[in-house]
């Protein structure tokens, strides 16, 4: 379990995250939503150990401040929003970097093929020999996800759950790959790991999240299941948009929901 209590994060002199407290359970997909500038990424960076904070963050009971980088690397992996490279690495070489900490959890004979398996998982089988810099933004994002998956290949290691932090994992992806990525996150949670993802798409959130954390102006507005949290008045208050949950457009207006894939 990842537990935050009274977490405050400052950037310069400005308080970006104020008194944030919530728990993210192993076996669950926790989704953080909120408008731009509400502090989602800053909170994620504090969780990742990139930013100093006050308050308390624990991973499986260990306080974040007491963990060394390599200890944290064995407990969680982090997908950044985007990654650019200045050296001509191949896709496979990038994915293999996920094995840097050496705690993938895969058995010795499997680990050499792990980059290929991870690439197949994100629908990039056969891309291993391509140059990362030549791929599209969405493909690069999936390569990075494959790398991150290699780092925590087994969602549970030595009896302890491990975590995936995904910062807008589907923002540059087409709908097919949005669904594939969310399925991967779902499967990671089902197999005992924990996932914390920042999403902008409320429909995908509703479809995949076990627990939704709504951020607004640097504070945690509410925490709950999608049904509890996604209400008309909350969306109006947080997003300043008069949207109606569950309302359908006129008959002749086409609309496509990700949920229809499962119907």
């Amino acid at each position: 379990m990842i537990s935050l209590s009274d977490v405050n994060v400052m950037l310069g002199r400005k308080a970006i995250v104020k008194d944030a407290s919530f728990d993210a359970q192993a076996g669950e997909l926790t989704v953080i939503v909120g408008p731009n500038g509400s502090g989602k990424t800053t909170l994620m960076r504090a969780l990742s150990g990139d930013l100093p904070f006050t308050g308390r963050i624990t991973i499986n009971g260990h306080s974040l401040g007491h963990l060394k980088p390599w200890q944290m690397a064995a407990m969680r992996a982090i997908l950044p929003q985007s990654t650019s490279l200045s050296f001509p690495f191949t896709v496979r070489e990038i994915v293999r970097l996920g094995l840097t900490s050496g705690r993938s959890g895969a058995t010795h004979d499997v680990v050499e093929n792990l980059p290929d398996e991870a690439l197949a998982l994100v629908d990039l089988a056969g891309f291993g020999g391509r140059f990362y810099q030549e791929l599209s933004g969405g493909e690069q994002q999936r390569v990075q996800l494959a790398r991150v998956l290699c780092q925590v290949w087994q969602p549970v290691l030595d009896g302890q759950p491990r975590f995936l932090f995904l910062d807008e994992p589907v923002s540059s992806l087409d709908i097919k790959h949005q669904l594939i990525i969310m399925q991967i996150a779902r499967a990671f949670a089902t197999r005992g790991g924990g996932v914390i993802a920042i999403l902008h798409d409320l429909n995908l959130t509703s479809m995949y999240a076990d627990r939704v954390v709504v951020m607004h102006g640097g504070t945690i507005d509410s925490v709950g299941t999608p049904a509890e949290v996604l209400t008309d008045d909350r969306i109006l208050r947080v997003y300043e948009c008069a949207l109606k949950v569950g309302a359908l457009p006129d008959k002749h207006v086409p609309f496509v929901l990700p949920q229809s894939a499962a119907m």
């Binding site: 980088p69 050296f87 001509p88 970097l97 840097t100 290929d116 119907m263």
Partner: protein, 371 residues
């Protein structure tokens, strides 16, 4: 059907027919390292025999096997002295300097995530030079305590300190929140280089005749005057840097993703950067102290190797050391023979070849990155 979208794609076993996975260049890299190792041995042997005095390969090998003092008929006494006291220290020192120039270039490029970073181009060599020149000119006056403290190691230590200070300034100026701006780095390098040159100029102005001769010889960059003493003073720094560098490979690879991601992968980034900067400063300082400014080896060698074996630093660093050593020995052989019996400073040879190569890299990259 909907199932086809949601069910994850079947993992293709692309490795079935082939023995090696696509995009895995480690096998190639290892092969290249072995080839470069043999090439270095061959180059060293060739260098032993090339020069103003002719001694055949066979007689040289004989001499090496029998040892220095053995009294033999294969090699004349004159040739024996030339080989043992002039060429051998020069070749070993040349190989070490070539290796350290190439490795410090490769480490710096990894550290700055930028293939154009090179101690010579971004002013770090000039900083090392400032340290060395300070000792040469001020050693008898202001810096006497420094000399008496460090003895024969004063020159390489001063160069090391100069390189370290300049690297730290450069890093502080060019890197913000883990991101290095290429333009800022190159411009800061120009400013640092100009600053060092100004102080070196001032010190040159103060120098006496004997010091001036040392300085001129030293500024052009040369392996002439290599001897066992020089090797024993600069050697430890170079050997230490070269021995540590293989352990930087994994961290430099992770750093290619950015500092945050490297840390997420388990690399203690701040500590790692400190070690890498010290390696660069030690390698640059020691080689500058011995041979002056030999430019462009650090940018040309890693770049050529990345074209062949890719940027994986676990292989790039040892390969750079081997190729750097070979290329510098070849450049030295050219500088010794092209105007024989006189010799050209080696810095002129490497710059004449390296500078156009650097422009070619810029041309190739112009379309890829926004400089």
């Amino acid at each position: 059907m909907s199932e086809s979208v949601l069910v994850r794609p079947v993992a293709l076993r692309s490795g079935q027919g082939k023995t090696r996975a696509d995009g895995d260049r480690s096998f190639l890299a290892k092969g290249v390292i072995v080839v470069l190792g043999f090439a270095l041995l061959a180059t060293m042997l060739f260098s032993l025999t090339a020069g103003a005095s002719d001694a055949s390969v066979i007689s040289v090998v004989h001499a090496l096997i029998r040892g220095a003092s053995s009294d033999d008929s294969v090699l004349s006494l004159r040739d024996s002295i030339i080989i043992w006291d002039i060429r051998l220290p020069r070749i070993i020192l040349g190989a070490m300097i070539g290796a350290s120039l190439a490795v410090s270039g490769a480490v710096m490029q990894g550290l700055f995530r930028n293939p154009l970073a090179d101690p010579g181009i971004v002013g770090v060599s000039a900083g090392a030079g400032l340290g060395a020149v300070s000792v040469i000119v001020l050693g008898t006056t202001v810096l006497t305590p420094f000399i008496s403290t460090f003895g024969i190691f004063a020159l390489p230590i001063a160069a090391f300190i100069g390189a370290l200070v300049f690297t730290l300034i450069l890093y502080g100026v060019a890197t913000r929140r883990g991101q290095t701006s290429i333009a800022t780095m190159l411009l800061a390098g120009i400013a640092l280089g100009a600053m060092a040159m100004a102080y070196i100029g001032l010190l040159t102005f103060l120098a006496d005749d004997r010091q001036l001769r040392d300085l001129t010889f030293w500024t052009l960059g040369s392996l002439a005057g290599s001897n066992w003493t020089k090797m024993s003073t600069a050697g430890p720094f170079i050997v230490l840097a070269l021995l540590v560098s293989p352990f930087l490979g994994r961290g430099l690879n992770a750093l290619a993703l950015g500092e945050a991601s490297a840390s997420h992968l388990g690399i203690p980034v701040q500590r790692f950067k400190r070690v890498a900067i010290i390696v660069v400063a030690a390698a640059t300082g020691a080689s500058v102290a011995v041979s002056g400014g030999i430019g462009f080896v650090g940018v040309v060698v890693p770049h050529l190797l990345r074209l062949v074996i890719g940027p994986d630093h676990r292989y790039l660093l040892p390969a750079s050391a081997l190729l750097g050593a070979s290329l510098l020995l070849l450049a030295d052989a050219v500088s010794r023979t092209i105007v024989a019996p006189s010799e050209l400073p080696i810095g002129i040879v490497t710059a004449a070849v390296g500078a156009p190569f650097f422009l070619w890299i810029l041309l190739r990259r112009r379309g890829i990155v926004d400089l």
